[in-house]
Subunit: 458 residues, 2 copies
């Protein structure tokens, strides 16, 4: 059972916390835009101060080749157990800024929602952890376990410095459990712990024919057209139902259990939700799986972009010499990105039409992640949600990838709890990002409950 | 037999003619660039003066909604027969200008080739007709038939004003035969009369899925990807050998006779020539036809451009909402562009994959052309070539389209002789365009021979 003291403290200081968060959100810490480099550092410094205010015994900037990492810790617990908390203080760009109803870095509260870039992803959620810990320390004088904060400034650009940072600071970051709040709830009032993420691999495909673009009158019919060739090649990757035709692609997939599939089936009508949200009359996907399963437990291969030949207004009677495509796969547990990308390259090589040459270039990849939900901390987390939200938290997966989670898993080898408090409708990465203050309040309560009920086996 | 008088006149005045042509070529009459509008008019005025110098009784600018047409005539022949000559005084743009070895509008003669934009296409060839007529008039005091010149300034932008001009001036342009020198010879020393041109039709294809680009992690697997859908759709248009799969596409094609095919087979090894020119290891085309037949007598459907989704550096994990392609067909005698474009639209509609909507937009189209080579003027033309070049002229076709030829055919209903003097290697529309002076000299001789031997039946 949760004591009411820390929770009361949170409630008393609510307006002040919101004001502080607004201050945090005013800093335009866009990690992808070099003009904002100073702002990113300002946000790091602000985070250091917030950790000190919360009662951390140590809080400092740690340099990386890119934007700095903020590290903080309180290590005076009466035991050796440690909770590590990961978050990020950088935000996405704001373009197209004209689609925002209020300026992205001038936070406002409207109908109990806080509107600003980063409100939900991830300044708001990171700040909740800081304040939950602060409430516990302020009201009890100590925490039940040690705490470490790792708050980075490059999450929105793919965490390029963090792999190396985690590997070099394995000792510093050692802990028993890792908490991350950067995934969505299932919906309003529907808490979820995300237990799986998809991995990724990606490839650029370049096809080249004649030495240059050709006049379609003078040469048309006698030479290969690179765009036709690319179209023919790409069309071999997928069948008409969306099943990937690359040999071996599904071989290592770990199928979800019937229990897991049954639990997802009870989550509601995702198909209708999707169609409405995306303005679609029909969905499309591999036969034998639901839309939720398509996005959570099945691997994909998507063409992300294609280009070649004339793209201007009207027509130009040209036979394009070159054609290009970009593809990415989302991978599920069991699949190894190195193996999959190799299979795809072999498929492309063996299906290249005559008259063109093929080049492929690998880009980012990351392994899929599946959490060990039999660890007791998972039960603690779902119980905490249920205590506060009044409804059981469900285990979900997410179709996206958070490559750093896989790094934490590999290097730290501890249970990772993805306890999100954002809603899918909160426009992460889009105009009018916002955060429901209901989840700001309940989220802090949930975290306090989690801290107070967490137990480690002897 | 040809008299030597006019030919000697040509030879005596050769250097002066070249100097005049250089003056013509100095005018940057690029019809597609509005900044050159004044230059285009300067070239029209220059042409009027050249026609007056040649002895035309009338030579004037005639306005159109676009660049002006130059009209000239001499109508004092002792009979009612008239030769109409069509050419154009406008030129293509010069980009990329840095690839020119000498400035495009500062003509120079190098190794008996005249380098300048328009040298071959079509100022040089148009000028030859003017000078051939001048030589006849200057040395004989009259021409065997009346002559009319129609020299336009919009050929390189698709002759947008000429259809209307020809239709409105049917009486003014009435003639017994039309001469055009704007097609290539077969090669050096290999004269050709082009008897067929391919027609054209063109279509923009737009595919749209969800309301916007989607995150490939959150949605990937459950919704149609517009680029995949477009790829799948476009791949239905052609089989692996390049044969078009649109129902009815080949139904109305008038196959060339065995004699015609045999004559093309004797023209030499076009396959090797093409591979070398285009830096290709292999050609590609419909089975059962040679490369020359692919480009001259077979219809095509080419994707001229494709675009959709992310085209920048690296990868972006997006499911594109829209995808676009542009296609054009080259059509051969028998095929009607209206019918073909309709068949293609129906094919696309019936093959559109689920989860996307299709829109098509028609662009330019033009009918194919096949000359009535049994008209005696064709024999006169090939004899004229043979007399000067010492080798028989062959009938060829051209894979490209000159839509105005079809208009002349429809409106004037007279034989059209495409007697070209350019070489395929002379870089029309490309950097370092040039004109072999050998063909400037022999071309004028050929035209004089043609004028002197042409006969019309009673």
């Amino acid at each position: 059972m949760m004591s009411q003291v820390a929770t009361s403290y949170i409630k008393e200081n609510r307006q002040e916390y919101i004001n502080e968060l607004i201050e945090f959100l005013r800093i335009p810490s866009i990690s992808s835009i070099s003009d904002h480099k100073g702002d990113v550092r300002d946000a790091a410094n602000w985070t250091v101060e917030a950790l000190k205010t919360a009662g951390m015994q140590k809080a400092e900037i740690m340099e990386t080749p890119g934007h700095p990492v903020v590290y903080g810790e309180w290590t005076s617990a009466d035991n050796d157990h440690t909770v590590l908390i990961y978050g990020h203080y950088d935000v996405q760009p704001v373009d197209p800024v004209e689609l925002w109803d209020s300026p992205p870095f001038e936070p406002i509260v409207h109908e109990e929602k806080l509107f600003a870039r980063g409100a939900s992803d991830d300044k708001g959620q990171t700040f909740m952890h800081v304040k939950a810990v602060q409430a516990l320390l302020a009201t009890k004088g100590s925490l039940p376990f040690n705490v470490k904060f790792l708050i980075e400034g490059e999450e929105e650009i793919g965490s390029p410095s963090l792999d190396e940072f985690v590997q070099s600071n394995e000792q510093l970051l050692s802990a028993d459990v890792l908490l991350i709040s950067d995934t969505p709830m299932l919906g309003k009032g529907r808490p979820a712990v995300c237990k799986g993420l998809r991995g990724m691999c990606s490839l650029q495909i370049d096809v080249k024919g004649a030495k240059g673009d050709l006049h379609s009158g003078l040469y048309g019919g006698a030479v290969q057209n690179s765009v036709h060739a690319l179209v023919q090649l790409l069309d071999t990757l997928r069948d008409e139902d969306g099943r990937i035709q690359v040999k071996g692609f599904y071989d290592d997939v770990i199928e979800p259990t019937e229990e897991e599939r049954a639990s997802y089936a009870q989550l509601g009508d995702f198909e209708s939700e999707l169609k409405e949200e995306l303005h679609l009359n029909e969905l499309f996907g591999e036969k034998g799986y639901t839309a939720r399963e398509h996005t959570w437990v099945r691997p994909t291969l998507e063409i992300n972009g294609i280009y070649g030949g004339f793209q201007g207004e009207g027509v130009k009677t040209v036979i394009p010499s070159e054609a290009h495509a970009k593809i990415t796969c989302r991978l599920v547990p069991g699949q190894d990105p190195d193996v999959i990308i190799q299979q795809i390259e072999e498929h492309l090589q063996s299906h290249t039409p005559p008259g063109v040459t093929l080049t492929t270039t690998r880009y980012d990849q990351g392994k899929p992640f599946l959490a060990p939900t039999d660890h007791p901390a998972f039960k603690t987390a779902t119980d905490a949600y249920e205590a506060v939200y009044g409804t059981p938290a469900v285990f979900t997966r997410m179709g996206g990838s958070i490559p750093v989670v896989e790094t934490f898993d590999q290097v730290l080898n501890i249970p990772i709890l993805l306890m999100g408090f954002g809603l899918p409708s909160e426009n992460f990465h889009a105009p009018n990002e916002h955060f429901h203050l209901e989840n700001f309040d309940k989220g802090m309560e949930t975290l306090i409950y989690f801290w107070e009920t967490l137990q480690f086996e002897k």
